[in-house]
């Protein structure tokens, strides 16, 4: 397919259809609303079902029903709306149901504001709802990745029978870039036997409920499931990490600035590198093996508390200084990042 110019949100929506998604229900909230608006007409064109739900609560529970019935089902939101989806995500996990949920992150706590942010990292990676779970989280850094990750997200969701989250943000969602939408694939709602379709006489009834009630070996099953995801699904991109003295760690919109920072720093002789987590959970611990020359690590995130710092400390077994360069009102500038890196290297601590 040829490249077209699309907004990140629209590319994501079109790519969801290409991935065989035929059920969407959502509720308007900036900066994800273009996904809902786009699918409000486009879903009909491809013979799928679109519902503007009365709330995010209703939306996620419609998705749960559609997923149980076998559809590739999607819902999208941001900040406050994403919080309302957490109960439903917890139920999807509990019942071993695949679905894709997108959080086009906006800034701040409570209502926050509509500009880009990366303040939902903890909520995304720790299991934002109640209970003992995590979900796979993919973090696109471009309009193209917004498109490419949809099929991957649905495949992973089905492989593990587990919801998959996409951590986009206002900048990625709103920017316009050239993008190639992947080929359309067909999804068969009867592909899996476990989906509800009607119980024929003499056959076993399908029950979609917390598998805690039914799984003969629940503890082992869950432990193995999460261990397999952690082992198999770490995704990352390493940029000049091998000889870097200081390694930046950033995802999504922040990682784009960090690429520039690495280039500019190296032009003046400062060896910076970048680890870009593509999966936020599982956190790509393996990426850090390459950082052999590193003296310190610096996360660059659009939040104040440095939400990814703990994960970097764990990935490096607490052996290195890890600091945070945060910027919340604007996308971080690369010269600010370089300055902070220099400070860290100059300090006796490294």
């Amino acid at each position: 397919m040829a490249k077209v110019l699309l907004k990140g949100n629209e590319a994501l929506a079109e790519a969801a259809l290409a991935a065989g998604c035929r059920f969407y229900s959502g509720y308007p909230i900036t900066p994800q609303t273009e996904i809902l608006e786009y699918l409000s007409w486009r879903m009909e064109d491809v013979g799928g079902e679109f519902i503007q739900a009365e709330s995010e609560l209703a939306g996620i529970n419609m998705v749960l029903g559609a997923a149980a019935a076998g559809a590739r089902a999607l819902t999208t939101s941001s900040g406050p709306g994403f919080s309302l989806k957490q109960e439903g995500i917890s139920y999807l996990v509990a019942a071993d149901l695949p679905a894709v949920i997108v959080d086009v992150m906006r800034i701040g706590t409570g209502l926050g504001d509509i500009s880009q942010g990366q303040g939902d990292y903890w909520q995304l990676t720790r299991g934002g709802g109640h209970g003992d779970y995590r979900t796979l989280v993919l973090a696109p850094d471009s309009v193209q990745e917004n498109a490419d990750m949809m099929a991957e997200a649905f495949d992973l969701a089905e492989k593990y029978r587990h919801p998959v989250l996409i951590a986009s943000d206002a900048a990625i969602g709103q920017m316009i870039e050239a993008v190639e939408i992947p080929e359309f694939i067909e999804h068969d709602i009867d592909k899996f036997d476990w989906t509800i379709k009607g119980c024929k006489k003499g056959t076993e009834q399908r029950k979609i409920q917390n598998i805690y009630y039914t799984h003969p070996d629940y503890e082992t099953y869950l432990a193995d499931k999460y261990a397999e995801m952690e082992e198999q699904e770490q995704r990352y991109e390493n940029i000049q990490v091998e000889d870097a003295e200081l390694v930046l760690v950033a995802y999504g919109i922040s990682s784009r600035v960090c690429r520039e920072a690495v280039e500019a720093a190296r032009a003046e002789g400062l060896k910076l590198g970048l680890i870009r987590p593509v999966t936020l959970w599982p956190f790509p611990v393996k990426a850090f093996e390459e950082a052999k020359a590193a003296k310190a690590f610096l996360t660059v995130e659009m939040n104040i508390l440095g939400q990814m710092v703990d994960d970097v400390k764990l990935a490096t077994c607490g052996k290195y200084p890890v600091d945070h360069y945060g910027s919340i009102f604007e996308i971080p500038e690369y010269d600010g990042i370089i300055e902070k890196a220099k400070e860290m290297l100059k300090k006796g601590e490294v």
């Binding site: 035929r22 059920f23 229900s25 079902e49 519902i51 739900a53 009365e54 709330s55 609560l57 209703a58 939306g59 529970n61 419609m62 998705v63 749960l64 029903g65 559609a66 997923a67 149980a68 019935a69 076998g70 559809a71 089902a73 109960e87 439903g88 139920y91 019942a95 709602i189 509800i196 379709k197 009607g198 119980c199 024929k200 006489k201 009834q205 399908r206 029950k207 979609i208 409920q209 917390n210």
Partner: protein, 245 residues
């Protein structure tokens, strides 16, 4: 009344208390499905409240959905499997309190799902707290001095709220005795007929007993339906779209 239960009623692991209205409703729904030839097609969505026990009481493909959300979940199911009959089965707390928005908006959209509401005038699963349907003065674990309507309002009557919507069907039956159940079964049958004709949202409320939380015998709790509930919650059909037209 039939003597032999349909083979879709399993009850093997059912944990309903003696005299509970839920168990009777399972039986009625299973009979209607069998008689309409829909047993192998029905998809059900139950709430996590006492009705959740249905998942082990009947042999229909079933989702146990979050408290108050089964109707939304049913909408998702129906959109994906429009050929199958789809029923949400929930309590009065789920339908008229925590899930009222979902109940209302599904009615507003006239989505083609059947909703069965078991009205036992309290929160059964959690031990008998006050519900929007609890009667004036009703003693519950959260109204130990009796429900004060000045604070909690009058009991919620679905027909007062929903008949203004462009829905296919709305009826209330009783599970108090054989006569009530025969009538209730007719309402359920009509709801499923309309559902299979694609007419839209159908809600059947069934007045039910919860002897355990009322702390009275099954016989007394049935009398309570007749003497206390029916006068406030009248039986009958409140909306029947085709007949009106």
């Amino acid at each position: 009344m039939r003597l032999v239960a349909p083979e879709t009623v399993t009850f093997t692991e059912s944990g309903f208390c003696p005299g509970c209205g839920h168990g009777l409703a399972v039986r009625l729904i299973a009979e209607v499905m069998e008689e309409m030839g829909l047993s192998e097609k029905l998809l059900t969505i139950v709430d996590v409240a006492c009705g959740s026990l249905n998942i082990d009481s009947w042999r229909f493909d079933t989702i146990m959905a979050a408290h108050g959300r089964p109707i939304a979940t049913a909408v998702g199911v129906k959109k994906v499997r429009p050929e199958n009959p789809v029923m949400a089965y929930i309590g009065d707390g789920a339908a008229y309190s925590i899930g009222l928005a979902e109940t209302m908006h599904t009615a507003l959209r006239n989505d083609n799902v059947v909703t069965v509401v078991i009205n036992n005038s309290l929160y059964g699963m959690t031990g008998g707290q006050c519900a929007p349907t609890s009667l004036p003065g009703q003693i519950t674990t959260s109204t130990p001095r009796g429900k004060d309507t000045k604070k909690a309002g009058m009991p919620f009557r679905v027909e007062e709220a929903f008949t203004g919507f462009d829905i296919a069907y709305l009826a209330r039956g009783s599970m108090a005795d054989a006569r009530g159940m025969i009538q209730s079964k007719k309402y359920l049958q009509k709801a499923f007929e309309k559902h299979m004709n694609g007419e839209g949202f159908c809600l059947v409320e069934l007045l039910s007993a919860c002897p355990t939380n009322l702390n009275i015998t099954p016989v007394k709790s049935v009398e309570r339906i007749k003497n206390d509930m029916i006068p406030y919650f009248p039986l009958g059909e409140f909306k029947d779209k085709k007949e009106e037209e």
